[in-house]
Symmetry: C2
Subunit: 340 residues, 2 copies
DNA sequence: ATCAATTTTGGTAGCGCTGCCAAAATTTTC
DNA sequence: GAAAATTTTGGCAGCGCTACCAAAATTGAT
């Protein structure tokens, strides 16, 4: 094997087959081939058969680059997401990709790593493909990003949050309400000395919103947050485990801990298992996301289940159907579980 | 809000700015603008400044569709992956996307749901974008898929496996070796009555390869697999938990269980926790993947850690550098852990 | 100052397809 | 059977950009 990229045994062509070649081979005009392949306009059954035969025989694959340039609409949908480590985003992509594929669209994505500057650069790169829509996480974007999006003439969908002013469409659930309800639940259960373990809130602004409204609700109820441990970096099971260890070392009297998400909460759960802290009698644990793993633990995790996959589905559906600007609140479900 | 998609306050343009308009505004020729923006060929400092000023002022975003059609190479890399639920694939995408973004490429993806027919259709859809490369999981593809890929003139990268005949490039690790080493490890530790809990092996052919070579190794050693529980559907913690329950109900005398991956193994771990089965003295557990969560459990999971993110990185690097056809075995690492 | 070498510049022909239109073929109507 | 209505068809401009080339401007050598 040498540096030559391809040298494919049988079929060796530098340039792929073009529509003109198919037309030639089928003995029809280019327009007819185009119409048949897009199943648009009118053509005779005979023409159709001859075209299809030629397409088959030559192994023709249409060039969407050219097609897009000539027509309008790229049938590409761009996702500019903060991360792929946080299961939230694969779930979102999963929901969307099914719908997109069923509608002959393709998903393009790029990962910002929670950096608004990168987000701006990546949005620009994405817009260069003239996508049908751009999907972003949440509402916190640079002014430059927002301006570019507005000027782009593309659909813009901000997902996984509804607490903000959308550029065009927003689909998700209220992180503020989630934080508030989590607090209400813990209070209702009688917990009073409540702590928090979270990851980098500067970057994950949705987690930040949950935290803020959680604290506010506790405060209003007269039982303000006792202590918190906020670890740098992304959320992870390990971070949650260590975080709870550090928190409890400082504040041993806590009776419940709210985690920034389920990954962190599962880590906390493991800490308790390892230390023999009984849940929930000695310490209650509450998460966010409603991951599957939380249902398989010996005690099901108390958490809030968010419709992440459905967010992706609905986002994709609105985009392919060219729906009007709107905010769709898909809500969430509080899972009582057995850890709080 | 009504059905009108956009009506963006200030900037209202149906068609985005074109390069010709920038040239006009900057008082230079189109070619100059093109050269400046691609930073290719030569141009004076003065020309550069005028172009950049106009670009800035007009908010010009180049049209890559047109650029690609006129030149060669779309700077798109297509991923046709089986799933987004299995963390393996987000990890792969994560590794690749960083490298791609750093090299001005974009990732497009589609999800086959482990269906070779869908894979074929999606590969065709992807090839329509004339991507720089197509990345696929493993070697098990329809003949039609393979033929299309060979005829496409694109780079083809088959990832996450090296046990097979690549179309062009293969990067990953040996699933057969992993199965074999897992068996050797359990035997070395003295386990003799070994079972297996897995998910749908027809579809996840890489898990199937591990299973086969695991069984073969046990057989060779004279301690063939005692029993197995194979659940339909994708792998999940819940499936692993239930699977182990069913397996142990049938074969209570097992002293070790090999799981199709870490998700399943963690499920098994939870089953043991819930039933008070002590690990590893009563039952040993061994997984595959080396997920982070397995390091945070009270007893670290015994497993094989695979370089999934690095697979993505290397795949992307080879593609952007137009490396020759080759097979890259990234190997794996056996984590002794505390569960086996 | 003169001519050669070099750098910078703009015009223009496509890239492969779709959209438009008028021409050709077919069907319907009287 | 002729005229009108309808369906089917092919030619060609042009989508926005890059590649190529020749012309213009600048620099260097003598």
């Amino acid at each position: 094997m040498d540096s030559e990229p391809k040298e494919g045994g049988d079929i060796k062509r530098l340039a792929p087959i073009t529509l003109a070649e198919v037309a030639e081979a089928a003995g029809v005009g280019e327009s007819t081939v185009s119409r048949v392949l897009r199943n648009e306009g009118s053509f005779s059954r005979k023409a159709r058969d001859r075209v299809m035969e030629a397409v088959e025989r030559l192994g023709y694959v249409p060039n969407r680059i050219a097609g897009t340039l000539a027509s309008t609409g790229s049938r590409l949908v761009a996702f500019v997401i903060p991360s792929l480590s946080n299961i939230v985003f694969p779930d979102l992509l999963r929901g969307a990709s099914g719908v997109l594929e069923a509608n002959q669209h393709q998903a393009v994505f790029a990962v910002t790593d929670y950096d608004p500057g990168r987000e701006e650069a990546l949005v620009a790169a994405m817009l260069a493909w003239r996508p049908t829509a751009v999907m972003l996480a949440g509402f916190e974007h640079n002014e430059g990003t927002r301006k570019m999006l507005r000027a782009s003439g593309r659909r813009v969908v901000e997902v996984l949050d509804v607490d903000g002013e959308p550029v065009d469409i927003a689909i998700g659930f209220s992180n503020r309400a989630a934080g508030q309800e989590s607090a209400a639940f813990l209070l209702k259960r009688g917990y009073r000395r409540i702590g928090y373990v979270g990851h980098d809130l500067e970057r994950d602004t949705r987690a930040g919103k949950r935290y803020e409204s959680f604290c506010a609700a506790l405060h209003t109820a007269g039982f303000p947050l006792v202590d918190r441990q906020i670890n740098a970096g992304a959320s992870s099971v390990e971070s949650g485990r260590q975080g709870l260890g550090q928190l409890l070392a400082r504040s041993p009297g806590l009776d419940a801990v709210y985690f920034s998400n389920d990954d962190m909460a599962i880590g906390g759960y493991f800490h308790c298992l390892a230390r023999g802290i009984s849940i929930p009698s000695q310490l209650a644990i509450f998460g966010y996301n409603g991951l599957d793993i939380g249902r398989a633990t010996p005690q099901p995790l108390s958490t809030i289940r968010t419709p992440r996959v459905m967010t992706g589905q609905v986002a994709a559906e609105l985009v392919v159907s060219n729906a009007p600007s709107q905010v769709v609140d898909l809500g969430f479900e509080l899972i009582e579980g057995a850890t709080a």
